[in-house]
């Protein structure tokens, strides 16, 4: 035979199914393991959402597990906070100090002074249980930095879900408003694979509107480069065309929407394609043509949208307009159309959380409530908070924080105005105690008092699932594929132990001895229980069917027994809502037939929403009940030659701070020069690779905190000239610019040996050849800029000036 070194996976290998967590899509994986060592990772074909496919990040799992700069032991700082001097401590010492601190806060009667800051969290059950058992509502999330506006727009419109799941695989036409599903997005690979199947099998057409040529835009049949923040205006202009030319499904709209089609036609009359062209740059002829094509493909057509449309100051309205565009062509809930599913995760009626469940906290958190933004927490059980204002409000002493726990988050690098976050975290008066739990050392860990070494997703347990792209819910298991390295531990061990040490009744909510015991109970409804899950990784109830046309379902006699009909609206009520105490709607009378309808107050698609208007009034803000175009104030004036709109973007091989630790992913993308349109660069006298200074400004906007138009900060970077970006835009990826976390993550900048690392690697294979490459922290100059109605961070609206160096 040939004498060459074979690959790792030859011969006997143990295959362990689990779930990825390199990003938040949670695809099913199979870990190939030999003698306790993870060799490689592949997709799990039994996962109904990802169907055996994973991306580069998923394949790169071993490089994070075996990252030589991983945190393996607990640390306590010596010297000043942020000085970077550490002592390795035992878990016993860490537990003691944390428990003593948290017990004192809890016993003081102000449990809200203990706050938890999380990034992405796929262990929601245990996090919620610990915080509720403790009694703190100060649970700070990243949702407003992520997907808030899209969720709020969908909840407003259909009620049942905050997440649209286009039935892409069965679609013939996909109109994409700024969703980069080929590289990122919460449905990344499950969406991308279905898009490609639609292209292969249905000859589906994909049209993308985006300010930058993302890989998604490049993969599309047509790409229109639009000015940031104008997606909603284009959707309204397309609605105008569809109404004016009678291309709509008027009967469906008039049956299922709470606003007459003719009145909506009147509403969109002023949004002409010519007006949209003037503001967005998308030609009016193209707006007309795409609108006609979209309507002609109905009902097997759908929109998809994400941060390109909604991570704006006007993003809530943009996504409202896009959502209602679907209602106009009557594709909602139909095969190949714009669909959704009520379960964002697994079916929690089938899989209830094991008891005893602690009650919700009774005290309030000013920061988590974020009452200045009326839609952030408008939907019960779907509170989204306003993450970007947390550290500003701590600085302004709106709420006292006596202890902060950071969990899987690098807010000191990833948050807007990250330098403000760093200042607050460094201030021992503002935050007297900070402990950070993560897989790797980060900018945030650098500003902690105690650092706890967390297990990777490959060494721990979760119940997990995502909004099902196949429209049938499922449940998945994340299980350890290898034993935890070093002294790393997961929350499922740490929180019960802390609860026992804090005491005061907390401990009784953690009665199980091991995660296995807990998950035996959680997965009881699966035939074969936890053993089935351990062998297969995922389960889907074979009796369940895709969630098509849920609104048409006829109510049964049993459901109707004891109900009453509200004559003017046709809404059918029965009993009272346990959450609100108000009478509970169960359906709607449509042409004399009692149907389920949509789960909005009107039981119809809410083209016009009284709910949001009232929420606005309660916060002294005007929220238009209809989808409108709300121009971004700072974009409406003429720009000087050196003024540009700064947008951000994500690379396909990166997610958040943790992918920076992967030598294989970082090797592919480790730098972030600023993308400039070639013509813009020519006007400014800039050539490829030239150095520039980018100076950002706060928005000139009375509805935004500190919205005085003042200068915020500067960074120095180099330019990359491209035909693939809007001439008024400068695009910088936010995947770079780390200053802590070891040489792989920081392009060689951070050479510190932290006593939590394992033995130093002198292997040349572990040394980055890209040391010294350009890498700048964009978030330092990104202003805190919440959408005034919702609190969503506007990532793509910052005005900057650039200067050649």
């Amino acid at each position: 035979g040939p004498r060459f070194t074979p690959g790792k996976t030859t011969g006997a290998v143990t295959r362990v199914p689990s779930m990825c967590q390199m990003c938040t899509t949670a695809c099913g994986i199979i870990a190939n393991v030999r003698e306790g060592r993870l060799l490689t990772i592949e997709g799990n074909p039994e996962d109904p959402n990802s169907r055996g496919s994973i991306c580069a990040k998923g394949v790169a799992g071993p490089s994070v597990l075996y990252d030589p700069y991983r945190l393996l032991y607990p640390l306590k700082r010596v010297g000043r906070r942020g000085e970077g001097r550490w002592r390795r401590i035992s878990w016993e010492e860490a537990y003691d100090e944390i428990a003593d601190r948290l017990r004192a806060i809890r016993e003081s009667g102000h449990p809200e002074e203990f706050a938890l800051q999380q990034g992405r969290n796929r262990s929601k059950d245990i996090v919620r249980r610990f915080l509720n058992a403790y009694g703190t509502p100060s649970h700070f999330t990243h949702r407003a930095l992520c997907s808030l506006n899209r969720r709020a727009a969908i909840l407003t419109t259909i009620g049942e879900s905050d997440w649209d799941l286009g039935d892409f695989e069965n679609s013939r036409y996909i109109l994409n408003f700024g969703c980069n599903w080929a590289e990122a997005h919460q449905g990344h690979i499950p969406v991308a694979t279905r898009m490609m199947r639609a292209r292969e099998h249905n000859n589906a057409k994909i049209v993308t509107l985006e300010s930058r040529l993302s890989n998604t835009a490049a993969l599309s049949d047509e790409w229109f480069c639009v000015k940031p923040g104008t997606d909603g205006l284009i959707a309204l202009a397309m609605s105008n065309v569809i109404c004016a030319e009678g291309l709509w499904d008027k009967e469906w709209f008039d049956t299922w929407c709470n606003y007459p089609a003719d009145k909506y036609a009147e509403h969109v009359r002023s949004y002409t394609p010519e007006r949209a062209e003037a503001e967005s740059g998308m030609p009016a002829t193209a707006i007309r043509r795409i609108a006609r094509e979209f309507a002609a493909a109905a009902p097997r057509c759908t929109t998809i949208c994400n941060r390109g449309s909604h991570a704006h100051r006007n993003g809530f309205y943009n996504d409202r307009a896009i959502t209602v565009l679907n209602a106009l062509v009557g594709n909602m809930g139909k095969a190949g159309g714009w669909c959704w599913h009520p379960n964002a995760e697994w079916d929690d009626k089938q899989f209830p959380e094991p008891g005893p469940i602690p009650p919700k906290p009774t005290v309030r958190s000013v920061i988590a409530d974020a009452k200045d933004w009326p839609l952030a927490n408008a939907w019960q059980g779907r509170e989204m908070k306003v993450g970007e204002i947390v550290y500003l409000w701590i600085k302004e002493r709106r709420q006292r924080v006596s202890a902060l726990m950071t969990y899987n988050c690098d807010q000191a690098w990833a948050w807007p105005e990250a330098n403000l976050v760093r200042d607050v975290l460094a201030d021992e008066e503002l935050i007297p105690f900070h402990f950070c739990m993560d897989v790797m050392y980060s900018e945030t860990a650098h500003l902690a008092d105690i650092v706890l070494p967390w297990t990777t997703y490959l060494e721990r347990w979760d119940i997990d699932a995502r909004p099902p792209q196949g429209l049938v819910d499922y449940v998945g298991l994340r299980q350890p594929v290898v034993r935890p390295l070093g002294e790393t531990k997961d929350l499922r061990e740490v929180f019960p132990e802390l609860a026992r040490r804090i005491g005061g009744g907390m401990e009784r909510y953690f009665p199980w001895q091991t995660p296995e015991e807990y998950f035996e109970e959680y997965f009881r409804a699966v035939p074969g229980g936890l053993s089935h899950m351990r062998a297969h990784g995922a389960w889907q109830d074979p009796r369940k069917r895709p969630h098509y046309l849920p609104y048409e379902r006829r109510l049964s006699d049993e459901e109707l027994a004891g109900s009453e009909i509200d004559e003017p609206t046709g809404v059918i009520y029965k009993g009272t809502d346990p959450k609100t105490g108000e009478r509970q709607a169960i359906g709607i009378l449509i042409n004399g037939i009692a149907r389920r309808g949509f789960t909005t107050p009107s039981r119809k698609v809410e083209v016009s929403s009284t709910f949001i208007a009232v929420k606005g009034e309660q916060a002294d803000k005007r929220i238009d009940p209809l989808p409108i175009y709300d121009p971004i104030p700072s974009h409406s004036r003429p720009f000087a030659a050196d003024e540009l709109i700064m947008i951000s973007f994500k690379w396909n091989v990166h997610n958040a701070h943790r992918t920076g630790q992967s030598k294989w992913l970082q090797e592919i993308v480790h730098s972030n020069p600023a993308w400039l349109n070639t013509a813009t660069a020519a006007q400014l006298g800039l050539s490829e690779g030239d150095w520039i200074e980018v100076t950002s400004f706060r928005p000139h906007d009375p509805h935004v905190p500190h919205g005085d138009g003042s200068e915020l900060g500067s960074l120095r970077t180099r330019v990359h000239l491209t035909e693939g970006v809007h001439p008024s835009v400068i695009a910088i990826s936010h995947n770079s610019g780390r200053s802590h976390g070891g040489p792989i993550a920081t392009n060689g900048r951070d050479q510190a040996r932290i006593p939590a690392y394992g033995p130093a690697s002198h292997d040349a294979k572990e040394q980055p050849w890209w040391a010294g490459a350009l890498s700048v922290p964009q978030n330092d100059i990104m202003p805190i800029y919440p959408d005034p109605v919702s609190g969503q961070q506007a990532y793509h609206d910052t005005i900057v000036r650039i200067r050649k160096l």
């Binding site: 060459f4 790792k8 580069a56 229109f224 030598k663 730098s671 040349a764 294979k765 050849w769 350009l774």
Partner: protein, 210 residues
């Protein structure tokens, strides 16, 4: 020749219609072989094409082409490069004296030096996996299944059927090496690759200090 004894002719077909440029293939290759940093057996080329506002970008996965007329094999003075019965071109590490003639001869830059092994290395079409009836790591990792691996001479194989029903081409056809890596390339992306080979230009990064 009866079916039992027919020689197989293994090859790969890459459909650029459905490649999303995600790099799962190139990372799977790194993981399978612990390929050192700085060198590649498989990567994905990105090529920007066209002018604003009609610009686009192409994604082109590249690897050793396991050429029928392999310049590396012809150039190797020590006989370390061999063609297996199934047609795969591999490097016998023990016989390699690192004279680098193969690297100079390969038009695809597919061969690199593994410092630890002190030998030239490249893609093996995952011979260790295909011998066990499995797919190459890059093929298995592709989320959109844009890569098909199999016997080009078996008319019933998926690869032969797809190659027979679509126009296919290969990278640098003018070199006359008769590659066994074929592409469905409707947008003529292969001819736009300016970077010459599978190895990436590690000097191309912009330095970060002024």
């Amino acid at each position: 020749m009866d079916e039992e004894n027919r020689m197989v002719r293994l090859g790969m077909l890459i459909d650029l219609n459905t490649c999303i440029g995600c790099h799962a293939c190139s990372v799977a290759c790194k993981a399978e072989f612990d390929v050192p940093l700085g060198v590649f057996r498989d990567t994905v080329k990105y090529v920007e094409d066209g002018t604003y506002p009609h610009a686009t970008r192409h994604f082109i996965p590249v690897l050793c082409n396991h050429c029928e007329d392999a310049p590396c094999l012809n150039a190797c003075p020590t006989g370390a490069i061999v063609r297996l019965e199934n047609g795969e071109v591999t490097i016998d590490e023990g016989d390699c004296n690192l004279n680098r003639f193969c690297m100079a001869a390969c038009p695809y830059g597919a061969i690199y030096v593994d410092v630890e092994k002190n030998a030239a290395q490249k893609c093996t079409f995952c011979e260790h996996r295909t011998a066990e009836g499995r797919q190459p790591a890059c093929v298995e990792a592709c989320p959109t299944k844009c890569r098909i691996f199999g016997d080009l001479d078996d008319p019933d194989s998926e690869i032969a059927r797809k190659a027979g029903s679509h126009p296919v081409r290969s990278w640098k056809e003018e070199k006359g090496t008769q590659p066994r890596v074929l592409y469905i390339d409707p947008r003529n992306a292969l001819s736009l690759i300016a970077e010459d080979g599978v190895q990436i230009d590690t000097e191309a990064d912009l330095p970060g200090t002024q």
